[in-house]
């Protein structure tokens, strides 16, 4: 195990100064996520235009450096993407955190993938995986509106 892999500069930076930590004006989709075991909370707001492109995405919440950084990096990656593209990116990320070595999506640049891979350090810390995935599950929920609130106690990874 290596702490430096978990708390890389980029995680610490996004954790301390999360991007898009606000509430989108006139959002048209949103969802809340909660991890009752640690108290992490996140609320994701989306504004999609007529062609279902993400015009704006933001989040509010509180949590550990990993969960804040993950939400922050996530919001910076999906802006401008179409709804189905967002889903592809989310699935790719969740699969990477779960088992895959790399990210496969062609929707992200190599730079962006490198950034996202910084979160892969949590794989060595099973307790912290849910910190990294909470905001991503919540984004899926906002798009699908399948659940009112994501509860990580009943969510698989």
């Amino acid at each position: 195990m290596n702490l430096k892999e978990l708390y890389q500069e980029i995680i610490l930076d996004h954790g301390k100064n999360p991007r898009n930590l606000r509430k989108t004006d006139n959002f048209n989709k949103d969802a809340k996520g909660h991890n009752p075991l640690c108290g992490d909370k996140v609320h994701v707001y989306l504004k999609l235009d007529e062609s279902k492109k993400v015009q704006d995405i933001s989040f509010e919440g509180q949590g550990c450096a990993i969960s804040m950084a993950s939400a922050s990096i996530m919001t910076s990656m999906v802006k401008g993407k179409e709804e189905h593209e967002v889903k592809e990116i989310v699935n790719d990320f969740l699969e990477m955190i779960k088992e895959k070595e790399t990210l496969n999506t062609k929707l992200l640049s190599e730079d962006e993938k490198t950034k996202l891979m910084c979160l892969s350090g949590v794989k060595q810390y099973p307790m912290r995986v849910k910190c990294a995935t909470l905001s991503w599950h919540t984004l899926t929920s906002a798009i699908d509106k399948s659940q009112n609130e994501i509860n990580m106690e009943s969510t698989e990874i």
């Binding site: 708390y7 301390k16 108290g39 509180q62 949590g63 550990c64 450096a65 307790m127 912290r128």
Partner: protein
């Protein structure tokens, strides 16, 4: 009680144990089972359905012997000494804010560090072999009242020494460095 997990003791007045329904059905807890109804076995059988946790029961007995051998007063004295030392060490550390200051307290010290979430603190301390608990410690209402989402908590037992708090103190300073 320094024994294995998976076993507890129900201590109650006989009157209530007789009146309360069993919480679980299984082998060994019945009196008679008829179409018309069921009666339960005598105490304590009524509450001991199924195969018992044999290993845990034997170990529980050993735990009690272990505690009695050292003596509750000695344990309490030792824990208090280490606790006082730990409190002093953590108070001296400027980055640490201790939560709660009752006159009489058990062997726990809850704290926060400005700008570092307790779960991050716990992960980093863990790397130095310091195991603490992070979260709301089954005490969400109090945390809400204190305006905290979570706290870090060091707890101690008979196996802890003053030196453990020196190690904790060092590990906290390392945590601060990572998050500087």
């Amino acid at each position: 009680m320094y024994g294995p997990t998976g076993l507890g003791i129900l201590y109650a007045k006989k009157k209530w144990l007789e009146e309360l329904p069993p919480y679980q059905g299984g082998g060994g807890m019945i009196g008679e089972v008829k179409k018309e109804g069921i009666t339960y076995g005598d105490l304590p059988n009524k509450y001991e359905a199924g195969t018992m946790q044999t290993a845990q029961v034997i170990a529980f007995d050993e735990s009690i012997k272990f505690l009695n051998k050292i003596g509750i007063e000695n344990i309490s004295k030792h824990e208090n000494e280490v606790l006082m030392y730990g409190e002093e060490i953590l108070r001296k550390n400027n980055s640490v804010k201790l939560i709660g200051n009752p006159k009489k307290k058990g062997g726990v010290l809850s704290f926060t560090i400005d700008g570092i979430h307790p779960h991050d603190i716990a992960t980093i301390l863990d790397e130095d072999g310091v195991a603490i608990r992070a979260g709301h410690h089954c005490c969400q209402i109090l945390h809400d009242k204190l305006g905290l989402s979570a706290t870090a908590r060091a707890s101690l037992g008979i196996y802890n020494t003053k030196e453990d708090f020196d190690i904790l103190d060092k590990a906290i300073n390392k945590t601060k460095k990572i998050f500087k």
